[in-house]
């Protein structure tokens, strides 16, 4: 039997990364095909290629044995691919029916008159066929997030997709809504739709999956019936690296004094009762899947998130964190995950970027000591061997590694007590990566406490003295460097209480 969709030798590279490398597998009609893998395994890239948002460098797609060119999202839709993004894309100024029928409104000629009755009737029919009890005339803001998600799915089913791609559709749903969604997904499957489902939850994977494909580092690792796999095996497939290659030789086990103590930190959106301690000179790794709440936690600790409850103490002193400056003045520094969007002012030069967080230290009554700043900047450029022609050069054109060093230097100028790093080596080439790693170790040895978020497990294992793992807004486990293995971290990250 011809598979519904055949993915053949797809490769796709981005500057600095090979996101997909010769990936091939088939998806069958009437099956739920779960796509799994760690952060950066290539799931999103593959999905976007299927949905026409990216074009593969090499390789091809076939639908029902016919070559299919997904040249644009609209073309992909015409070829029968429906896509549910993780973020809602419904328009909250329109009602349910109009959202479902967006861009496909029934009209009568002349003048392209809207046929409202038909529109709401068609929308209602789609909702009914999906067994959803939502009034097509209800304004969107009156629906819960889960119901809005259903509307989004209804909109995609309007085009009668043969293949439906769902990217972590349950990530913002409550328990009950989740079950409604699962029912819906199964109903779609039973109608013969092929479903590619991306999930970060082990539990739901085994509830839903007929087939599971595992990707790792852009490679296709395995495609097997779900019944043939157990959790331990799945984790091994996802990890499966030669461990220990970059393992840190001498991991400190004797910890210094507690510097940062976080207790019962919760917020209204995601985080629940986060408690942990960070010691002097320690590198504490924070693992977890994207969306597990790591960045949210980091932002709270830096005073740049929404309000939260619970206490954050630095050296036994309670901190009031309402603005990044509060955190900075207390000695906390934060290297955000999005270097270009959050870390740098791209159109400013190296000198100004590097000194941006320490303007107060270089100013008397608001007047800057430019000469002092310049020598400070130059000394840091030298110390971190940032390769630039001049400090007057804009940071925009620097390589990722040099940009990241500028961001790091910006915070080191403040001589922080606590350094929070969020994906410190993302988009950084191998050589610069080793330099950044060495730098982080050096900083820690000087007594700075480092909280390091990374989606790259080998990096986290190699660097950390201790690893916390987050899953859906909670800390799901803590591992010392001696007991931490990729399997254990991945299991905890996917919400497996018992490490394998």
């Amino acid at each position: 039997m011809t598979p519904l969709i055949r993915i053949r030798n797809i490769s796709k590279g981005f500057p600095g990364v090979q996101a997909l490398d010769d990936v091939s597998f088939d998806v069958k009609a009437g099956k739920i095909h779960v796509l799994m893998g760690e952060n950066g395994a290539g799931k999103s890239t593959l999905m976007k290629i299927l949905a026409g948002a990216y074009q593969p460098d090499t390789g091809s797609l076939e639908i029902d044995g016919q070559p299919a060119q997904m040249s644009s999202p609209i073309r992909a839709r015409e070829l029968g691919v429906g896509m549910i993004y993780q973020e809602l894309t419904v328009l909250d100024n329109l009602d349910v029916g109009r959202n479902i029928m967006l861009g496909q409104e029934p009209v009568q000629e002349p003048f392209g008159r809207m046929d409202w009755n038909k529109l709401y009737q068609q929308a209602g029919d789609i909702l009914t066929s999906l067994d959803l009890q939502i009034d097509p005339r209800a304004p969107l803001p009156s629906l819960s997030i889960g119901e809005q998600q259903m509307v989004e799915i209804a909109r995609v089913t309007l085009h009668d997709p043969r293949i439906m791609i769902m990217d972590e559709p349950t990530s913002s749903l409550g328990k009950h809504e989740e079950e409604v969604l699962f029912d819906l997904v199964r109903r779609l499957r039973d109608r013969g739709v092929g479903i590619i489902y991306i999930s970060h939850r082990m539990e739901e994977v085994f509830m839903l999956a007929d087939t599971i494909t595992v990707l790792r580092d852009g490679h296709h690792i395995a495609t097997q019936p779900a019944a043939d796999l157990d959790r331990a095996e799945l984790v091994r497939l996802m990890v499966g690296r030669d461990v220990d290659e970059a393992r840190q030789q001498d991991t400190k086990t004797d910890r210094g004094d507690v510097v940062l103590a976080v207790e019962n930190l919760s917020d209204e959106v995601q985080l629940q009762n986060i408690s942990f301690m960070l010691h002097r000179g320690e590198i504490l790794g924070l693992a977890g899947l994207v969306g597990s709440g790591r960045t949210r936690l980091a932002r709270h600790l830096f005073g740049s998130g929404e309000p939260f409850t619970g206490s954050v103490q630095l050296d036994g002193r309670s901190l009031k964190l309402t603005h990044p400056n509060d955190a900075i003045q207390s000695g906390i520094a934060y290297v955000p995950e999005d270097r270009k969007g959050l870390g740098l002012v791209l159109m400013m030069d190296v000198g100004n970027n590097l000194s941006l967080a320490s303007l107060d230290k270089n100013a008397v009554a608001g007047v800057l000591n430019r000469a002092g700043m310049m020598s400070m900047v130059k000394s840091w450029v030298k110390r971190l061997s940032i390769r630039i022609a001049s400090v007057k050069q804009t940071v925009e054109k620097l390589s990722g590694g040099n940009q990241q060093k500028v961001v790091l230097a910006k915070w080191l100028t403040r001589e922080p007590r606590v350094l929070i790093l969020n994906e410190p080596t993302r988009g950084v080439d191998v050589g610069a990566k080793a330099e950044v790693h060495a730098l982080i170790r050096e900083i820690a040895e000087q007594g700075v406490s480092v909280l390091m978020i990374s989606s790259e497990l080998p990096e986290l294992l190699a660097m950390s003295d201790r690893i916390l793992v987050m899953h859906e807004g909670k800390i799901s486990g803590e591992l010392s460097s001696t007991e931490a293995t990729e399997e254990k971290v991945v299991a905890l990250a996917f919400g497996e209480g018992e490490p394998v």
């Binding site: 329109l94 003048f111 209800a138």
Partner: protein, 327 residues
Amino acid sequence: MSDRALQQPTGGLLRYVNRNTISEFGVLIAIILLIIGFSFASPFFFTVSNFANIGRQTTLLAITSFAMTFVILSGEIDISIGAIASLSGVVIALLLREQFPMLLAILAGLTVGGLAGLLNGVITVKGKIPSFIVTLGTLSVIQGTALAMTNASTIVFSNDLYRDLFARASLFGIPAPVIFAVVLFFVLNWLLTSTRFGSNIYAVGGGADTARLAGIPVDRVKILVFTLSGVLTAMASLVLTARVGNGQPLGAQGLELDAIAAVVLGGTSFLGGRGALWRTVLGALLIGVLNNGLTLVSIAYYPQLLVKGGIIILAVYIDSLTRGQKS
């Protein structure tokens, strides 16, 4: 299900209700209160002839506000509206003065308005430049063109048919321009609520990226909206030139401010995607009644400007509060 929707504690619907009460009933109540107040304050206010007056005075604002409503709903702004009205008014006046047929003059005026709008739309959309700064530049160009065409003088024409048709005539005591505006309202309201074009405007204003992914031709919709806005503005200039019997190159200066005030006051969100044409009617009426009443009770004309500016700021502020802070 709709019952459940009503019970959603998320505050979604509650916010919706608040918005409605503030902007729908609020404006209506304000108009009624003003009418009652002015009726007591001036014996000349509550009369048929004065209401006809208010209607006549408000049509110009109402029609330009219709134009602005379309632009704002699509998520853009056009501050060259006053200049466009002046320019097409001048073109019409010049042609009428030279005894060209009325129909040709009208057609020319509307074409000029449409072209100016098209220019705004194309530069905004294709140049990917914010519309407020684009239309600030074109405002200057259009205004200068109107002045250059007339050598900065007023163009007086005499064409009784034209002036009757768009200003002086009345049917059952209803002034012709009011009838014109009402007809226009129904046509435009139909366009906005009953055609795919109107539906697309809401989608584009609500989220251009989503609309684009859904296959809606976002760029074309925006350019069309700007063009329509130009044509409507030219229609407003028909009423203006007919009323005064001439075309003044600076005759409609500042009209954009009144139009924005009427639209936002009516409760159409300046962020796009939310609002309706009837809201704009209420907003324009409120300003019209206020202007008329203040003049009748002999409060100087000029605090009105002050009030108008304050109203814009307040309305916009309330709009942003009721929508909640965006992250």
